[in-house]
């Protein structure tokens, strides 16, 4: 039977899939296929026969887990991972601490200049990471930096910001500068959604603003802190732009400073796409394990608190 009703319900049934078609096709082509291809490549290698001359001398063959064992043994990759770990240990707590602090300050009573300061602190969000690294890079350069000028006038020692330990601080500062405002806004909007009665009740009980902040505001924005934490971890694992941009300004950032830079280096400069693919897959796995582990831990805590 082809009554209008049945035809219409068929239309409704098919509609969501039709609406999702562009996203699904794009996902298949630009996410699933590349990931599958990377996994495939990570188990391959080039076999060179003879002198490597002639059309069939270079053949792609199955490599098993060779590329993975190679990646585990690769000290450059390990050092890159450790560098990013150190960098992340500075960036994540400082950035989120500042974001929370600024959000609480914006949310407190009788504050002045909030539209201006909120705008100013959020501004770096609009500035590309490369341009941010470039601006700070110049501020770190002794020849043009105002900091060095001030230090020199005060006859204070002038540390080299682009080398050794200070380099971590210099790089972290760029990430903190760029990311604090966005996280501040996320936390601030969720602070704004706390009903005013909650504060009234707390004030009647004699709570100080500090107590209100610590005992009411922070726990109530915990979900947004979890979200910002999550985004920051992912961003940290993917750090690439800032060290790459600082590279021309200093000899201390090499081409494999972070694991992602190492992947790029192996894929496009050493032309070893197979090792690069294995490293890329490993980094993706670490990201997935860390994010899901983190989300599960956060969920479990939330559930415990809800009980």
């Amino acid at each position: 039977m082809t009554s209008p009703a049945s035809r219409k319900s068929y239309g409704v049934k098919g509609a969501p899939y039709a609406f999702l078609l562009p996203a699904t096709v794009l996902f298949a082509l630009f996410f699933a296929l590349p990931i599958g291809y990377a996994v495939f490549l990570s188990f391959r290698k080039v076999h060179v026969s003879g002198l490597g001359l002639g059309a069939n001398a270079r053949k792609e063959v199955w490599a098993g887990v060779e590329n993975y064992t190679g990646a585990f043994k690769d000290s450059e990759l390990l050092h890159g991972a450790l560098r990013v770990l150190g960098y992340g240990c500075i960036v994540v707590p400082v950035m989120l601490g500042l974001a929370l602090l600024f959000a609480l300050m914006l949310d407190s009573d009788k504050v002045r200049f909030t539209p201006f300061t909120r705008l100013a602190i959020f501004l770096p969000y609009a500035i590309p990471g490369v341009v941010a690294a470039l601006l700070w890079g110049f501020l770190y350069l002794p020849d043009v930096s105002p900091f060095y000028y001030v230090l020199a006038k005060l006859h204070l020692p002038q540390p080299n910001l682009l080398d050794g330990g200070p380099l971590y601080l210099a790089l972290s500062n760029i990430a903190v500068w760029g990311g604090t405002g966005f996280n501040m806004i996320v936390i601030y909007t969720s602070l704004k959604s706390i009903p005013a009665e909650v504060y009234e009740a707390a004030r009647l009980d004699g709570a100080t603003p500090l107590q209100i902040a610590l005992k009411i505001k922070i726990p109530m924005v915990a979900p947004s802190l979890v979200l910002t934490f999550f985004f920051s971890i992912i961003a940290t694992l993917q750090v690439y732009n800032e060290p790459t941009t600082l590279k021309p300004l200093t000899n201390s950032v090499d081409t494999s400073w972070s694991p992602l830079m190492k992947v790029y280096q192996d894929a496009f400069h050493r032309n070893d796409i197979y090792s690069a693919a294995a490293e890329a897959v490993l980094i993706a796995l670490v990201t997935l394990v860390l994010s899901f582990g983190f989300l599960r831990a956060a969920n479990r805590r939330n559930k415990q608190e809800a009980r």
Binding site: K8, G11, V12, K13, A15, Y17, F19, L20, P22, A23, L26, F27, F30, L33, Y37, A38, L41, M105, L106, D109, K110, R112, F113, T117, R118, F122, L123, I127, P128, G129, V130, V131, L134, L135, F138, D143, S145, P146, W177, T180, T189, A207, P209, L210, P223, S224, I234, L237, Q238, Y240, N241, T244, T245, L249, L260, V263, I273, A280, A284, L288
Partner: protein, 301 residues
Amino acid sequence: MSTLAVHKAAPAAGTTPGTARRPPLRRRIALVPTITLLLGAIYTLLPVAWVVIASTKSGHELFSTFTFLPGTGFTQNIKDLNAYRGGIYWSWMGNSALYSGVGALLSTAVSAFSGYALATYRFKGRETIFNVLLAGVLMPPVILAVPQYLLLAKANLTDSYLSVLLPQILSPYGVYLARIYASAAVPTDVVEAGRMDGASEWRIFTRIALPMMIPGMVTVFLFQFVAIWNNFLLPYIMLSDDNKFPLTLGLYTLLEQGSNTPALYTLVITGAFLAVLPLIALFLIIQRFWSLDLLSGAVKS
């Protein structure tokens, strides 16, 4: 200077708890929060202020005068930038606008379709499709970009505008935001009513749902615009012809050459200054339209 302000702020910190017991009227400004926020603003504005001033300096002044003293070379710097390789800088800016504008528009459309479908229909595989799309957020761009490059190379598409544009159309985060927004803004009753009146699903979407979703989609558009404008890695991997470079990549290559010839530093600085301007303009627009509740909505769900 900043340490001085902190010292000033410190004694005030001790007094804040006292204000809790119904503060007397004379305290009209909360000092500690205000000063903290102003310090934050100084911190974020410092590099921007620096680049504004540095772009006015000639190459000689850059290395010889105090950094926060304006120079005399601004018009000359602009002229130099104009002259550099036949004004390639302006191609970079045009390319950035093209990648970001077209990319964000397509991305918003795809997000709106998907978000609407995920929010208003109950169908088999809904959560699976959503979760799989979301997992895309977790994929580090370079992990995707390297095999994307290799695959696009097989299709002879690398070093083309499409190679930068296509991979950025699907934004998992955009789909996520669109779903949240659609489920909040489009009531199912209205969709049902449209069906009763015999409207097709497509018509219901374009005539009823889409207008309701517009404010949220503006957010998704701006979000994607900024994300594509700021992207560096993908064009870095895909492009070798510098006429197709976006600004980020162009400035980076300029800086790379500048490390050998410091004369190019003024060009990099002036270029960086001009690169920041359109985004600050966009940013001021964002302030008006940016529906921040959307972000916190994402948190609450």
